[in-house]
């Protein structure tokens, strides 16, 4: 029976392929990347070697014209775990998946997706998906389910996105009452881009149990790219009230890019601190392939206990397609 189902599936697929030859290519593009690294991590003096798959992914994206100036847009992206094939018990896990309608009015879109606050960070995190990823230190790096968003057109460099996130019965604000409204969580961003400058202000309300505001800046000067972020966040119960900053710099010399970033955040309620420092270099092997090396030190300091310290160094490669 299963073989019958398989045969039917393959036959249907080949039929799809044949149809696509008859009608032209599908209205979309397959893309993805493989990113693997060999990493040595020393956590509180316990040393371990690992092979890591760093958000390797496969996706399809595209648009379909509905009428002049009106499009359906979509993106479906899945993580694949190149190191051991086990993505939380699955072969593929969901990353950003969305569909929307785009016109001169902007874009209305929905799905499971990075929040506007996370997107507003742009790429100032130079060690994204590695041990030095900003998400290991700062709140607000959320991929949110059930997101319904509106993104404005870009006017004179300004663009904005606002998203509402229904709780669907979960207690998103931690007040002991299940949330069933349309705007139980809200995330927004406003950005400005001009020449080599990017500025953004973004925030969350009751997203991942946090209320948050962040400001982001990125500036490019020839081979030098600078990034900075300031953030304040507090949880819905008032147990945590953090503020901190993040800076990064990348300098390109021919095929090599030298990178450094530092972040610090402090909890004003209990005085706990978190710190991250990363240094590294990328070497471009081809347009779509690079090798890299990095060192990261992440420290969590609590007033009434020993520091939790993890340092990592690794080498890896990334190939985009």
């Amino acid at each position: 029976m299963n073989k019958l189902v398989l045969s039917a599936a393959v036959a249907a697929t080949l039929g799809l392929a044949s149809n696509s030859f008859a009608d032209g290519p599908i209205d979309g593009t397959i893309y993805g990347k493989i990113n693997v690294s060999v990493v040595n991590t020393d956590q509180n003096s316990a040393d371990k070697w690992k092979l890591n798959s760093n958000a390797s992914r496969l996706g399809v994206k595209g648009k379909t014209k509905i009428t002049d100036g009106l499009y359906a847009v979509y993106k479906a992206e899945f993580e694949m775990c190149v190191d051991d094939g086990d993505c939380k018990g699955q072969t593929f896990t969901q990353r950003n998946i969305m569909g929307g309608i785009r016109g001169s009015f902007g874009t209305v879109w929905a799905g499971k997706h990075d929040s506007p606050t996370k997107l507003a960070q742009k790429k100032i995190d130079l060690f994204n998906d590695l041990e030095g990823d900003i998400k290991n230190t700062f709140e607000g790096e959320n991929r949110v389910s059930n997101i319904i968003a509106y993104t404005s057109p870009t006017l004179s460099g300004f663009s904005g996105t606002v998203a509402m996130i229904p709780g669907e019965g979960a207690d998103v604000d931690g007040d002991g009452v299940d949330d069933t409204g349309l705007t139980d969580g809200i995330s927004y961003s406003l950005s400005y881009s001009a020449d080599n400058l990017y500025l953004a202000v973004a925030g969350d309300q009751d997203v991942d149990n946090q209320d948050l505001v962040r400001m982001v800046m990125q500036y490019k000067m020839d081979a030098l790219k600078l990034g900075a972020m300031y953030q304040q966040n507090e949880d819905s119960q008032g147990i945590k009230d953090e503020s901190g900053f993040f800076v990064s710099a990348a300098y390109k010399i021919d095929k090599t890019t030298l990178k450094a970033q530092y972040g610090f955040i402090e909890d004003d309620v209990d005085g706990d601190e978190e710190e991250t420092l990363s240094l590294g270099a990328d070497y471009k092997l081809s347009k779509n392939t690079k090798a890299y090396i990095f060192y990261t030190d992440n420290t969590d300091s609590e007033l009434d206990s020993d520091d939790d310290e993890a340092s990592s160094f690794g080498v890896g490669m990334e190939h985009k397609f």
Binding site: N2, A9, V10, A17, S20, F21, P25, T29
Partner: protein, 167 residues
């Protein structure tokens, strides 16, 4: 073989079919990480504009001639391995589709802060590369026109309708 295996094989087959039918034809210089950027919607629209341009070219070639037009992407044939193979006009190769018509377009910007690579000069350069790609022995530009990009003030799309020479 259990149902999970069936799903996996089906997904793999669908992916293969999509790769064969779509990705090979993409001209877009899209960076994978752009999909996670704040302007990911713009990237989808802009990158797929080129895809659409390619589609239009195929459609145009079908309309204006002939069986030879299908040679642009081929009809496909099933090999023993189960993988469908077909001739693909790879980027950088030159072909000549005599007496066939195509429509191509490229974005450009007249914004004061537009970068050089967004200029109409570069758009024309890219269009000529496309024309040379499909009409290696020469072409006639039958029509050219511009449409505004409704998403960005000061941005436009330059269109060329061109026909490969008969020789």
């Amino acid at each position: 073989m259990n149902l999970t295996d069936v799903r996996l094989w089906s997904a793999a087959a669908v992916t293969t079919a999509m790769l064969l039918s779509g990705a090979a034809n993409s001209n877009c210089d899209f960076d994978t990480d752009d999909a996670d950027g704040p302007d990911f919607l713009d990237k989808i629209i802009e990158c797929e504009e080129q895809q659409s341009s390619g589609n239009q070219s195929q459609e145009s070639s079908r309309t204006n001639s002939s069986a030879a037009a299908t040679q642009l992407y081929g009809d496909g044939s099933l090999t023993n391995s189960g993988i469908i193979e077909r001739p693909v006009a790879a980027a950088g190769t030159l072909s000549h589709y005599a007496d066939k018509s195509f429509v191509a377009r490229q974005p450009y910007s007249l914004r004061p802060d537009a970068k050089f690579e967004e200029s109409v000069t570069i758009a024309i350069q890219k269009l000529h590369l496309e024309m040379a790609h499909y009409c290696a022995r020469g072409w006639d530009i039958e029509r050219q026109w511009t449409e505004a990009n409704s998403q960005q003030q000061g941005d436009f799309f330059l269109h060329y309708r061109f026909r490969c020479t008969a020789a």
